[in-house]
């Protein structure tokens, strides 16, 4: 058994950096595309709605691991030479956009109909109606679910290890193999995930409770 010194710990923190980056990119990219998916999902055109529904269904109905593989090997098949990093970022963005799109679709539809009617009666057009009136309210409604998904996404980044990406979990595995102290190493890695995810989860639940109270 080897010791767990500063070097080993730094290596794990280095993995954490990639985990955080991956989650942030997935969340931001997924957020941007997710809004588009949500808007398409509630648009007037039945064809557009069906397309968005299919997209959401595809990503919700398959394991994230498969999505990672498909994107990772898929872009390579297309003859595009991208780094593992970019491929994984694309996969997480697509994955997150489908889930966030579905969460936000529900929140948009949860905004009372009277809000759209008032906006229409005032002559507001689509962009203003969405940007000024509906989306701010929908995003607020969606906060607990959005935070819940962010937590899932952070934990889901560990799957990127499969395609050779050294994020937090994979870094832990490497150190564990070097030092033969799996329990200690994965204890530390688990604690790091927990320190990030638990406050977020807690915050989401608190928000949800506060909103439920306010709605009464």
């Amino acid at each position: 058994m080897g010791p767990i010194g500063a070097n080993e710990f730094l290596f794990i923190l280095h993995g954490l950096k990639w985990t955080a980056l991956l989650a942030i990119i997935g969340f931001i990219g997924g957020g941007v595309f997710g809004i588009l998916i949500a808007l398409t999902r509630v648009s007037k055109s039945p064809a557009a709605r069906a397309t968005a529904a299919a997209y959401i269904g595809l990503f919700q109905g398959t394991p994230l691991l498969m999505q990672l593989f498909v994107v990772y090997y898929g872009v390579a098949l297309l003859g595009i030479n991208v780094s593992a990093w970019l491929a994984v970022a694309i996969a997480f963005t697509l994955h997150a956009s489908a889930f966030l799109g579905e969460i936000w679709r529900g929140s948009i539809q949860a905004v009372p109909k009277g809000q759209t009617e008032a906006a229409n009666a005032l002559g507001l057009h689509y962009v203003s109606r969405m940007k000024d009136v509906i989306l701010p309210q929908a995003l607020k409604i969606s906060m607990p679910a959005t935070i819940g998904f962010l937590v899932q996404l952070i934990k889901g980044t560990s799957l990127a290890a499969i395609v050779g990406f050294i994020e937090l979990a994979r870094a832990g595995q490497i150190i564990s193999n070097q030092t033969y102290r799996p329990l200690l190493v994965f204890g530390i890695v688990g604690a790091i995930y927990f320190i990030i995810c638990w406050p977020l989860s807690h915050f989401g639940t608190a928000l949800e409770k506060r909103m439920a109270k306010a709605a009464r």
């Binding site: 009277g114 809000q115 008032a118 229409n120 009666a121 005032l122 002559g123 507001l124 203003s128 309210q137």
Partner: protein, 253 residues
């Protein structure tokens, strides 16, 4: 009055309007003209089509046949006509429908900025003017949830007035209010009426109808059953259904 005077002063006209919700016939052969400055009170039992009728005027509902003309503009299904008509028509809803995430001032300034292309400063000046008009300027920086129902409804009126419409539609503006707040909203509406605003009000406030209306229209099952000046309407209604309805309403008040 010549024929051209007549069309000039005509602000709203509905001709042979038919409206269906699927298999349900919601409006049946509605014919109605409203002259500039006229105040109409629309009443009738629940489900008779009152909301549907006034919502057709600002195109919150579309019609299956017939023709609607507002401020000289025929509703021909084009987006331009819809825009033009919505600029001339303000609407006040039973549940206020204020934007909860915006302050009172922001609620009022939004449409002038987005629809009339005003800058923020100009729009807010206009908003303050109409908040003053409904006597609620002191609440300008609050959020709707911090106001009483009556105050919220007055803000909703100010918000509609900020587009400086020619016509105001009211859909049961006092029905969701606690009794002690009804008066402040009715007073605001009465004062609007005195200033010459053209108004169509769906309401069961018969005191308001007597005081303000030029004509009272009674609807039932999607049809206009009877229309008359308030005096005539309340004292000698012709139709059996109107009598029954008035009996019920007056018994409640």
């Amino acid at each position: 009055m010549t024929a051209s005077d007549n069309t000039q002063s005509m602000l709203i006209s509905l001709e042979k309007v038919e409206k269906w919700y699927g298999a349900f016939h919601a409006l049946k052969d509605i014919n109605l003209t409203v002259r500039k400055g006229e105040k109409i009170v629309l009443c009738g039992p629940s489900g008779s089509g009152k909301s549907t009728l006034i919502r057709c005027i600002n195109v919150l509902e579309t019609i299956e046949s017939g023709q609607i003309t507002v401020a000289g503009r025929v509703l021909d299904g084009s987006g331009k006509a819809v825009d033009a008509i919505r600029r001339e028509v303000g609407m006040v809803f039973q549940n206020f429908n204020l934007f909860p995430h915006m302050t009172v001032l922001q609620n009022c300034a939004l449409a002038p900025m987005r629809v009339r292309g005003m800058g923020r400063a100009e729009a807010e000046t206009l908003a303050r003017k109409y908040l003053e008009r409904v006597r609620i300027l002191d609440q300008a920086d609050k959020y709707p949830a911090q106001l009483s129902g009556g105050q919220q409804q007055r803000v909703a009126i100010a918000r509609a007035l900020c587009l400086e419409p020619k016509i105001m539609l009211f859909d049961e503006p006092t029905s969701a209010l606690d009794p002690e707040m009804v008066k402040e909203v009715l007073d605001t509406m009465i004062s609007l009426a005195r200033d010459g605003m053209t108004m169509i009000c769906v309401t069961h406030e018969m005191g308001f109808a007597r005081q303000v209306a030029d004509r009272v229209i009674f609807m039932a099952s999607g049809e206009i059953i009877e229309e008359a000046e308030p005096d005539v309407f309340f004292t000698s209604p012709k139709h059996e259904r109107t009598k029954t309805f008035l009996g019920e309403i007056l018994a409640h008040h």
